[in-house]
């Protein structure tokens, strides 16, 4: 009988199955120590489960020479090195070449066994080494926490929020699989990151694994396989994933606040056509520029509407200047074709009150036209230079009130409440800091003379911004 047999199976030692169960039962932070007595050194293996429940193995070795005082093995040095407590979590085993009975390792083993009578022997069985045995045992340990894949969700307005796809439950074992669908948006050169986190009831315990690859945008059916606790692989992707050494927090920091919802969009452009001719021409020019850019660059379908507004004349001898719906939910060419006619009508119209424009009536009209229409995401872009008429007398500005007493704040609020996904853009040739222009340009604001139409449209989620990358897979809706 070999020395190895004596220290293991022959004495009813702990085999692979029992070792696996032992590791699975370890409480967080509780160590399992395995002392491996080799020919020239003793190796101390320590198994602990990290905060995600993943068994983690560390080891350290000391030569017999280092543990000896002269020719004598020092028991205090040996027990100090093993730090095995009362021995209830201590397994002993022989390793290395099998030597004769005078082998120092045999003496050391007996010394430890004599000191820790509860210590049990580890049976390596078919494993070639403690390392291999531990590798096999830790791989077989069932999960103690939920494993989730970090995903991003997008609400109707395009705002992103972190969410998760549960892939494995506690108790899941090695080689278990889970199939689910994801959607990948364009990513940065670092690629789309598949980060698996562990969750212990309500709390995320930590990152389990993180792999990345530069995936083409699109929908994928992914098969996740639990390789072992702490290791999940993904199949079904066109590009192999590679380990990602970045910190999860660093990747999370690159998540944009919003990503474009490029579903059906309704771009409503409201343009002020009262005032000096050159200013009206500039307004209409920006309208054309914006519509052309969106029509050529939009990823989803876009319908276009054009509302024209002027100013209440506050002159009883002159007819009011109602908001005109030049086009509604039409194609881009149909709207663009109306612009010369709009310019002509504006030239012919008398501008009697120059301190404000009918923004409040335009908003009332837009709210009325959009009422009950939820099939597309509306985007309202107001192009003008004047302030809105107040609903009632406004002493600080002395701007006369809207004859219909429409309150622009109320209608803006109606629009926001009725259409939570609605975006608002403003191209202003006047006071951009005025409250009405700040709120009309809540999502995108530009000066009349310095419009970056692409960026402006991107801010309104009409076009995809060049720098917009989504680092995680998204929920497939």
């Amino acid at each position: 009988m070999s020395v190895r047999d004596t220290a293991g199976d022959a004495e009813g030692g702990v085999g692979l199955a029992e070792l696996t169960e032992w590791i699975a039962r370890l409480a967080p932070g509780e160590p399992l120590v395995i002392a491996e007595f080799g020919a020239i050194q003793v190796t101390r293996w320590e198994v602990r489960r990290d905060r995600c429940g993943t068994p983690r193995v560390t080891y350290d070795s000391m030569s017999w020479e280092e543990l000896s005082r002269g020719d004598t093995l020092s028991e205090p040095e040996l027990t100090g090195f093993l730090r095995s407590g009362d021995g209830t979590s201590l397994l002993l085993t022989r390793g290395g070449e099998i030597l004769d009975s005078l082998d120092i390792s045999r003496r050391a083993l007996h010394m430890v066994r004599a000191r820790h009578e509860h210590a049990r022997l580890l049976a390596l069985g078919a494993a070639a080494s403690v390392d291999e045995q531990l590798g096999e045992a830790t791989a077989n340990v069932p999960l103690s926490q939920w494993y989730e894949l970090v995903l991003l969700g997008r609400d109707q307005s395009g705002r992103l929020s972190l969410t998760a796809q549960q892939i494995f439950e506690p108790g899941a074992k090695r080689l278990e699989t889970q199939t689910f669908r994801i959607h990948c948006e364009p990513s940065s050169p670092a690629g789309t990151t598949f980060a698996v986190v562990a969750r212990d009831r309500l709390r995320t315990s930590g990152l389990v694994s993180m792999v990345s690859a530069k995936l083409p945008p699109g929908r994928y059916t992914v098969n996740a396989t639990l390789r072992r606790p702490g290791s999940v692989s993904f199949q079904g992707l066109p590009v192999p994933l590679r380990a990602d050494a970045r910190k999860l927090a660093d990747v999370l920091a690159t998540v944009p606040a919003r990503v474009g919802e490029f579903g059906p969009t309704h771009l409503i452009v409201a343009v002020e056509t009262c005032g000096p001719q050159d200013q009206v021409a500039a307004h209409l020019d920006r309208v054309g520029q914006l519509i052309r850019n969106v029509a050529t660059g939009a990823e989803g379908s876009v319908r276009f509407s054009l509302l024209v507004y002027g100013a209440h004349p506050h002159d009883l001898r002159i007819d009011d200047y109602p908001v005109e719906v030049v086009a509604w939910a039409a194609g881009d060419q149909a709207v663009l074709a109306h612009l010369p006619m709009v310019a002509e009508h504006a030239r012919a119209r008398q501008d009697r009150y120059t301190r404000a424009g009918n923004i409040e009536c335009m908003l009332e009209r837009a709210a009325s036209l959009l009422q009950g229409k939820q099939d597309t995401r509306p985007v309202l872009v107001t192009v003008g230079s004047r302030l809105a008429f107040p609903a009632w007398g406004d002493q600080p500005t002395e701007i006369l009130p809207c004859p219909s007493h429409h309150d622009w704040r109320t209608y803006l609020q109606y629009l926001k409440e009725d259409h939570p996904a609605m975006a608002f853009g403003a191209i202003c040739g006047g006071d951009r800091d005025a409250e009405v222009w700040r709120l009309l340009g809540a999502d995108a604001s530009a000066e009349l003379v310095a419009l970056d139409a692409w960026q402006f449209a991107a801010d309104l989620r009409l076009l995809r911004p060049a720098a917009e990358h989504v680092p995680f897979p998204m929920v497939d809706r």
Partner: protein, 311 residues
């Protein structure tokens, strides 16, 4: 004294607008006196028509007076129950038809500046007109005085010269209607409301009004708000120079407040009648129908004093 009434006030205090509103205000009056304004010669009639048309039809303010303008107008009306007759069945009162000559002198505000060196002749002529007038319509624009603050300088200059011309008198003999103008301006209405001096007309459009009983106090308080810190002397100066019993105060507006034609009722949330100039080429405008406040009252009061003085 044969010149009737002279309009007196600093630049841009609303004298010409007052005259332009007068004819319409008399037509709109709701008294049983039926007073109306009549031109007594061709230029005066033309001016009456022109001023009224500009303000009422074109809804713009007439151009300010340059130098000195004289209009020969008459206030024509009836005084109900003015004549008492005796019949076999006893006494009976019947109305008396009156024609009160209004020799209105409208002078550019600048002519009466105390330190004015140019146009001395015009100033002298203006003082002479005041001297010969029985009634004076004195205009005080609190808004202008708050911003420019020239009321005291103007008043002091004129009164010093006038006093000098009328040496035999102790207090000057004129009847003075003090018009605190531009009551339609929101700062004026706000001030009156804060001072709790506002009442609303019983009849539509239920305009706010500072009652005549409070007008002097309102004037006194407004003068204290002036930019120059000298305006508070305007009231004492007037009352030291003229007989207090011959001064009456009216808080007035030539154009009145805006009234929505659909509701026909004054609305505190929407009453701005004056549309200020918004561009250099633009003229200030009037938003709605002219609904003068206390334009008729001072002129009729002065007219009656004139009639009484004339016997």
């Amino acid at each position: 004294m044969n010149k009737g009434i002279t309009l007196w006030g600093a630049t841009a205090t609303g004298k010409t607008s007052f005259l332009a509103a007068l004819h319409t205000a008399l037509v709109d009056q709701k008294t049983d006196s039926d007073w109306r304004l009549r031109g007594e010669d061709d230029p005066s009639t033309q001016r009456l028509v022109s001023l009224t048309h500009t303000l009422v039809n074109e809804r713009v303010f007439p151009k300010a007076t340059t130098n000195l303008q004289e209009y020969s107008w008459s206030l024509v009306g009836t005084m109900p129950r003015a004549i008492q007759e005796w019949h076999w069945y006893g006494p009976r009162r019947r109305p008396k038809n009156l024609v009160i000559p209004l020799h209105v002198v409208d002078a550019q505000g600048e002519v009466a500046k105390a330190n004015r060196s140019q146009g001395r002749d015009v100033t002298r002529q203006f003082i002479a007109n005041l001297e010969n007038s029985t009634g004076i319509l004195f205009f005080y624009d609190p808004v202008r005085d708050f911003e420019v603050g020239d009321a005291y300088e103007h008043t002091f200059g004129v009164l010093t010269e006038l006093d000098s011309q009328l040496k035999p008198y102790g207090k000057l003999p004129h009847h003075v209607a003090v018009c605190i103008t531009k009551f339609d301006e929101h700062r004026m209405l706000d001030a009156a409301m804060r001072m709790r001096m506002v009442e609303h007309d019983i009849d539509p459009p239920h305009f706010p009004r500072v009652p005549e009983a409070d007008a002097r106090e309102f004037f006194a308080k407004l003068c204290r708000l002036s930019k120059t810190q000298t305006a508070h002397r305007v009231l004492p100066l007037l009352e030291q120079t003229f007989d207090r019993s011959k001064i009456r105060y009216f808080v007035s507006s030539a154009i009145g407040f805006y009234v929505d034609p659909f509701t026909g009722v004054f609305d505190l949330r929407d009453y701005q009648q004056h549309i200020p100039r918004t561009t250099p080429d633009d003229d200030p405008r009037i938003r709605g129908d002219i609904r003068s406040i206390n334009v008729v009252e001072p002129i009729i009061w002065l007219g009656r004093q004139l009639a009484r003085t004339a016997g």
